[in-house]
Symmetry: C2
Subunit: 393 residues, 2 copies
Amino acid sequence: MNFATRLDNVETSAIRELFKLLGKPGIISFAGGFPDSAMFDVEGLREASQRALQEEPGGALQYGATEGYEPLRTQLAAFERAKGVTDIEPHNLIVTTGSQQALDLLGKTMISEGDKVIVEGPTFLATIQCFRLYGADLVSAPIDAHGVQVDRLEQLIVQHKPKFVYLIPTFGNPSGALLSLERRRKILELAVKHQVLIVEDDPYGDLYFGEPPPPSMLALSREVPGSREWIAHCGSMSKVLSPGLRVGWLVAQPELLAKATMCKQFSDAHTSTFAQATAAQYLKSGRMPETLRNVRQKYGERASVMAEALTKELGDAIEFTAPEGGLFFWARLTAPGANAGEFAKRAIEQNVAFVPGAPFFAKDPDPATFRLSFATADVEKIREGAKRLGRAL
Amino acid sequence: MNFATRLDNVETSAIRELFKLLGKPGIISFAGGFPDSAMFDVEGLREASQRALQEEPGGALQYGATEGYEPLRTQLAAFERAKGVTDIEPHNLIVTTGSQQALDLLGKTMISEGDKVIVEGPTFLATIQCFRLYGADLVSAPIDAHGVQVDRLEQLIVQHKPKFVYLIPTFGNPSGALLSLERRRKILELAVKHQVLIVEDDPYGDLYFGEPPPPSMLALSREVPGSREWIAHCGSMSKVLSPGLRVGWLVAQPELLAKATMCKQFSDAHTSTFAQATAAQYLKSGRMPETLRNVRQKYGERASVMAEALTKELGDAIEFTAPEGGLFFWARLTAPGANAGEFAKRAIEQNVAFVPGAPFFAKDPDPATFRLSFATADVEKIREGAKRLGRAL
């Protein structure tokens, strides 16, 4: 069978082999990107789904508008307003089938074969493949613990004239990095100056452990004249409430939103109205603040234990910045020529798993890097896993 | 903003203007393609969603496999086996976010810019746009009341060497046509002879009013040696159970299924596990046969009333074949030079709506054709709507 040429652009085997090994009994996994199922508010979601079917069974079970179920758009706009996006209205966002679909729609809507797109190095693996399937030629912008390096980013924008710049500014995957307030402002100014779209992917912004992070770039765009129309913002219920609902959203200027909606019509018609009505009832129920307090506290504790345990067990052999939120540690082997792929294999032998960092780079991978998630292991397992990492080293 | 060139391939304004008028108070609509919300088994779905959350809350709310939630794949394989696909196993299908996504994944997986794809003339509107977004050059194969004309189809296959042939063999949208058993066999033989993929879109096959239709081409492929690997089959829960779940499925040979799964990973990661677990519990509950009996009986009654009323009110001014299943009448104005678009406008003035047929043709539209759905109006409204159509004429 003769497949589409776009499939030649993607390579998915890199970490698939490793994931196959995760079924090994007794393994402690720091490899996943999942939230912890034990934290799901099952009772709250049960009640919400019941109310959805009781109050408007037609709406929850029938075809719905491609833009999204209106009561959910209303709740999501309120959710964003509470986070400082004071001027957002329901019609400024569309509901997507997880934020993965928001990325897919941005690719479909914006990227022609050979178009340049700037991403962080490293960035979310599924974003790399998603954009490449639409023919994107990815350019990698370097980051540090404060997010993407703005001077380099401007140089790359000038050099490559990209279709857009894709960033995970808040507790990035895999980097865990937090883009500083100053850099956020500068990037919004760059967007206006160079008339370039900035895509802000923000699935982790609510998962902070101490002080709240700086406002999202979407919220901050109010302070930088002309920048709002150059921001597309992807939100998600997956990390804070439930990934199984597949409820995400995309905020963008009207023309881009209309084009993305048209593309969505032919991608999946609309996001499950049953899932949307459930999410709407959940947000309306007022349980979200308590749910957020709970996940912040639990993940914060795990992150803190992991930082301590890594330092204790691995010492100077690795370097990392302890994240202030999100689900990930991004670490680097300090020995010259060290390879995290080899380290991952030895770790599996010691019954502990993580993901090597190289596949997260669209260009010029750093083979010494790796990602550790503290989300699904409890503190005892995190301590034991770190010990095993020490033995593997 | 500079959008992707693929957006230049689509045109969605054709019937959008008409749909805007449907909000007019007192209008009787034969325009939609929706099932009737009043027939949804709300209580059965409520129980199913509760059991899903009780029995395996982690599975229903967590990230899931891109291929689909295993208990649902098992139920869907059994559902297909009961319809004569005796040799299907759960791993022969993947779950999609409605069958619209199965079409999208086939486009993404198979179609390169400029590839030929053969569709029926007329065919499903969203398929035309979906495939064009991937750069397809569509070729239109003529149909009659027994479905696509096989001799013409073979000529077009030889002439155009298409990437695939897309058919809705059973109670087509918009045609209502039923592909005969003889033609099904011949097309399977053509698939083997010319090594061409046949996509069988089958959302309406369970909605028959009298005798069951011939077996699906997927089921029939068992009898035509070598044909199974050239069949991709799209199924859907939308017309028989609930469109709001967005649960469809794609059956295909292993290599195509693997490529489609890879594409789905970057489209939406997976279909809502909450919706999938609900659908799995529903199928497991054993309520589906009664639900199918109910919708067959109700839609059958409406179709029969519509046939009678159209004949009574419009007489020789239109021609149509009464459908034996599905949701649609496909009709044609008999007066020379008649235009169904003009007729639709006059009908709106009389407070009755339908969809002109021209946009359903990928090439060479027949402007005298139009589509009427009997799904959402009760028999009294169908009679009154037909009277209004008579006045509009």
